[in-house]
């Protein structure tokens, strides 16, 4: 298994997003807030004349604390024809998984369990593989 992964930090934990889904990593400048939306949707930002929906990954996982990010890095992904910017604590590098995703007995914790397809071994240690579809639909969708 040598799928390329974007290594990032979400809510202080090592996480990874399948790099094939990621179009680019950007530093978000201005966010236009959208009143009335759930917390995890921070608003819209413009990238090359396109509007991206900015998702706070930490809040989207239902972890309660907003992402702590200095340079406001976000991974740009496209889900069902819509573009999203996934705001993470930090986006590191693109790396390879050295193992297939595996489940861990006892799970990864309730919130993580929902959005994760499993744990992979990487050069930097064990990393949770996060499913972007779960991120963009947020914690509320899961409850329903």
């Amino acid at each position: 298994m040598n799928e390329l992964l974007l290594m990032c930090t979400i809510a202080g934990r090592r996480a990874a997003i399948s790099a094939s889904h990621v179009q680019s990593v950007i530093e978000i400048e201005a966010i236009t807030p959208i009143p009335g939306t759930p917390d995890f949707i921070l608003g819209l930002t413009a990238l090359r004349s396109q509007a991206l929906t900015v998702i706070d990954c930490s809040l989207a996982l239902g972890l309660g604390t907003p992402s702590q990010s200095e340079d406001r890095r976000a991974a740009v992904v496209e889900v069902d024809g819509h573009l999203y910017a996934l705001l993470v604590d930090n986006a590191h590098d693109v790396g390879e998984a050295t193992s297939d995703p595996v489940a861990v007995p006892g799970g990864f914790g309730e919130n993580w369990q929902r959005a994760s397809t499993g744990m992979v071994e990487t050069d930097g240690g064990p990393t949770l593989l996060v499913e972007i579809h779960q991120l963009v639909s947020g914690p509320l969708q899961q409850a329903a």
Binding site: P35, G36, T37, I41, A46, S49, Q50, Y84, V136, G138
Partner: protein, 794 residues
């Protein structure tokens, strides 16, 4: 053109092109089996396709060629050059016919017998002449020439290719993005300041992009025929089912509409047709009884006007039975009797768009279940269109649909709430009213805020509160701007926003499902500076806030006709007096602004006068400050009879006084003080000014009149009469608007210059019924002249 037919034409032409080289090769060696097979396949396919369409000529031709070739393939006949020539002639004819079909021309009468006869082995008949054959062979071998030679005389034949729709969408999206990218670049260029070396090419790029965008938009367009083509079948099925006879008529099938839009109106249109056949058009027996043709007519007419398409669907049925409709509305508890009585016929007709109404006595399988027109209307309005109904009992009903050309670009009103901008679809916006204006009154019932506007109470929503940004308890309604929103259901509510910015055409993009779930937004768009802006979903907001339907609706159905704003605003002119203080004067008093040399002013003691164009005027306003040297500005004030001039230092602006004027006891020269732009401004009292500076100059009372200059009668007989009635005859070359013009009715459109009133004189005494006056009706003419004179002076 029918899609199938277009495909047929395209396919035939493709094959023609492919077989071009085969034909030449075959001619070189008539016995070549492989060539024969290819050409056989071609004519066979054409013959097969013709079966689907009604092209007997084409079928006969291809059939004949197929037979001849089949003989050769079976070895029963030896292909020779005569056969080759004959087949080539047929293929050539097929190509010609294909062009005609595409151009929508009639194929004409039979003329192919000689061609078919030429195929016959035993026939001695030569195919036309050698010359013709040679030409045809050339045509076949040089396809490019064929296009030229055949295209030139036959206009309207367009080359077409088939493209997957996805690809078109992709390109369209790309161009939209390019436009946005251009806007972004434009903004950055503006920020960077003037750069002639870049600005020029950028302008060019912009122009090209605009052109490309127009072309791409056209690429997505589809002819309405597309939609129309499916309707006759629907009408036939429905009318059979309901035992009626209906004929369909289409007009304007060539009008083009965005492909998506066509799909959006398909269902509403189907519904209207169902209704028309079921409720509108009577049974043949009933029609005959009413002296109508037993076959009902359903007519579709489409027109393009600007970026709107208007589509009218008319039936010649029984019309909407208003009484029945009203009874039903009352029976269903939608309206009370008294409310119905107050309605105009038009309003009554529009009841059919109310949910839960249907005039069909019996519920048929087709319609009459009371779901329908309200949904139709909602769907049409959702795509930014509108629908109206007009009906005459016994004569028929017509529905007028207005549709925007495309879905993706909509007209929007941009408004501000907090420090954000939002877009509202303009089709819903009825009117914009300032909360501070005097004819708007706020009230509260329970927790519901109401605004009284045009004597109706309209519920108020605050955008900030809808968005959850602000608690409405500390909202100052008076500071807000109210956007009057009229929904598809005729419900009106006021949406309070902080500011209204502008009208803009915006490119709407879809939004992520998670945002859609809020039901507040319909899409997103980018501002020129590249920032995203949300497009509000007004119907959905109204729905969530209970602004739709219910008891309350009737009170808010403001008559659409009364569009003009009731306003107390008084227009004034702001100026700085000679002392530099700002004052205002009612704009009605100001006739014009003059600039004269200070030498033309003569002041001696109490008397102050100014000379303008050789006339002497009383001067006012000179006593508050020193006269400037050189040129001086004067306001020429008039009370309709007298004129005087008022000296000012500077004319500032025109403004509207919407606030009350607070009278001042101390200063009699002013009417009072009012607030303009938040500053107190004294308003000059016209009465005081004119009474104080006893105006001297009488306004020249003689009204001007133009008479036909080229008529001897007018000069010798009419002119003295008019002059005696107190009019000044305007000179022929006088540019200004005359008060009156007299025209001779026998001259259809006399080259009259501008005149405020026109009297027409007719040559014969019989009343033509067009308000003209007989030319020798002296009393009538004098009365008319007097009426106008006194009317003007009043």
């Amino acid at each position: 053109m029918d899609e199938l037919l277009a495909d047929f034409v395209a396919e035939t032409r493709e094959m023609l092109e492919q077989s071009g080289s085969e034909l030449v090769a075959w001619e070189a060696d008539p016995s070549d089996k492989a060539r024969i097979d290819t050409i056989f396949r071609f004519v066979h396919t054409v013959k097969g396709n013709c079966g689907f369409f009604d092209f007997p000529r084409l079928e006969k031709l291809s059939h004949a060629a197929e037979d001849a070739l089949a003989e050769c393939r079976a070895g029963r006949r030896e292909p020779d050059s005569a056969l080759v020539t004959a087949v080539l002639a047929i293929i050539d004819r097929i190509s010609e016919m294909t062009d005609s079909i595409e151009a929508g021309e009639e194929l004409g009468e039979d003329g192919d017998d000689d061609l078919i006869a030429a195929l016959d082995q035993r026939s001695e008949l030569e195919v036309q002449s050698d010359l013709e054959v040679v030409e045809e062979a050339e045509v076949a071998s040089v396809p490019e020439d064929e296009k030229v030679s055949h295209k030139a005389p036959r206009q309207g034949v367009q080359r077409s290719i088939r493209l997957p729709v996805d690809l078109l969408d992709e390109v369209m999206k790309g161009v939209s993005d390019m436009v946005l990218a251009r806007n972004d670049l434009a903004r950055r260029l503006r920020e960077a300041g003037e750069q002639p070396t870049i600005d020029g090419p950028f302008e060019r790029l912009s122009a090209i992009l605009a052109d490309v965008r127009t072309s791409i938009t056209r690429m997505r367009m589809q002819r309405l025929e597309h939609l129309f083509s499916s309707l006759p079948r629907l009408v036939r099925d429905l009318s059979n089912e309901l035992g009626k006879q209906v004929m369909v008529d289409f007009e304007g099938g060539e009008v083009e509409l965005d492909r998506e839009m066509i799909e959006m109106v398909r269902d509403p249109l189907t519904h209207i047709i169902r209704n028309a056949i079921d409720h509108g058009i009577e049974t043949p027996a009933a029609r005959l009884k009413n002296n109508k043709r037993e076959i009902g007519l359903l007519k579709f007419a489409a027109r393009q006007s600007g970026n709107q398409i208007s589509l009218v669907i008319t039936d010649d049925g029984g019309g909407i039975n208003l009484d029945k409709l009203c009874d039903k509305a009352i029976a269903n508890g939608l309206y009370s009797k008294s409310e119905i009585d107050k309605m105009s016929d038009n309003q009554k007709q529009n009841l059919i768009f109310e949910p839960g109404l249907s005039t069909a006595e019996a519920v048929s399988s087709v319609s009459g279940r009371g779901v329908g027109m309200d949904v139709v209307r909602a769907n049409i309005e959702r795509v930014g269109g509108s629908i109206e109904v007009a009906s005459k009992v016994g004569e028929g009903t017509s529905f007028h649909l207005q549709l925007p050309l495309t879905l993706s670009i909509i007209a929007a009103l941009t408004v501000g709430s907090g420090d954000q901008r939002y877009a509202l679809p303009r089709s819903y916006v009825e009117e914009i009213v300032f909360g501070s204006s005097s004819h708007v009154e706020f009230a509260q019932a329970g927790d519901r805020h109401l605004v009284t506007f045009r004597e109706k109470r309209v519920p108020c929503l605050s955008l900030a509160e809808v968005l959850g940004c602000q608690d409405k308890s500390n909202l100052r309604w008076e500071d807000q701007t109210l956007v009057m929103v009229r929904l598809a259901s005729e419900d009106v509510f006021a949406l309070a926003v902080d500011r209204v910015f502008d009208h803009e055409d915006v490119v709407v993009k879809p939004i992520a499902p998670a945002i859609m779930n809020t039901r507040l937004y319909a899409g997103t768009t980018l501002l020129d500076d590249g920032r995203p802006m949300m497009l509000m979903d007004l119907p959905s907001i109204a729905q969530m806030r209970g602004m739709v339907g219910g008891v309350r609706t009737k009170a808010t159905a403001i008559e659409r006709e009364s569009q003009e704003r009731v306003t107390k605003a008084v227009p004034v002119m702001l100026f700085a007096g000679l002392d530099g203080r700002h004052r205002a004067v009612r704009l009605e008093l100001v006739r014009r602004i003059e600039t004269i040399s200070s030498e033309a002013i003569d002041i001696e003691g109490e008397r102050a006068q100014a000379v303008i164009d050789g006339e002497i005027f009383t001067l006012a306003g000179h006593d508050v400050g020193p006269l400037p040297d050189g040129r001086i500005r004067l306001l020429r004030l008039s009370d309709a009879e007298n004129e005087l001039v008022y000296a000012v230092r500077e004319v500032l602006d025109a403004a509207d006084v919407t606030e009350d004027v607070v009278p001042s006891e101390a200063d009699t020269a002013i009417e009072g003080v009012t607030l303009i732009g938040g500053k107190p401004i004294p308003l000059l009292d016209g009465h005081a000014v004119f009474s104080k500076y006893r105006a001297t100059r009488k306004v020249e009372q003689a009204l001007t009149c133009r008479i036909p200059t080229h008529s001897e009668w007018a000069k010798t007989i009419l002119e003295p009469l008019v002059a005696a009635a107190g009019y000044r005859i305007a000179a022929e070359d006088e540019e200004v608007e005359a008060d009156l013009a007299i025209a001779l009715a026998e001259e259809a459109e006399s080259p009259l210059c501008s005149a405020r009133q026109i009297i027409r004189l007719r040559p014969d005494p019989d009343d033509a019924g067009d308000d003209s006056i007989y030319r020798y009706d002296r009393d009538g003419l004098l009365a008319a002249l007097k009426r106008i004179r006194t009317g003007r002076a009043a």
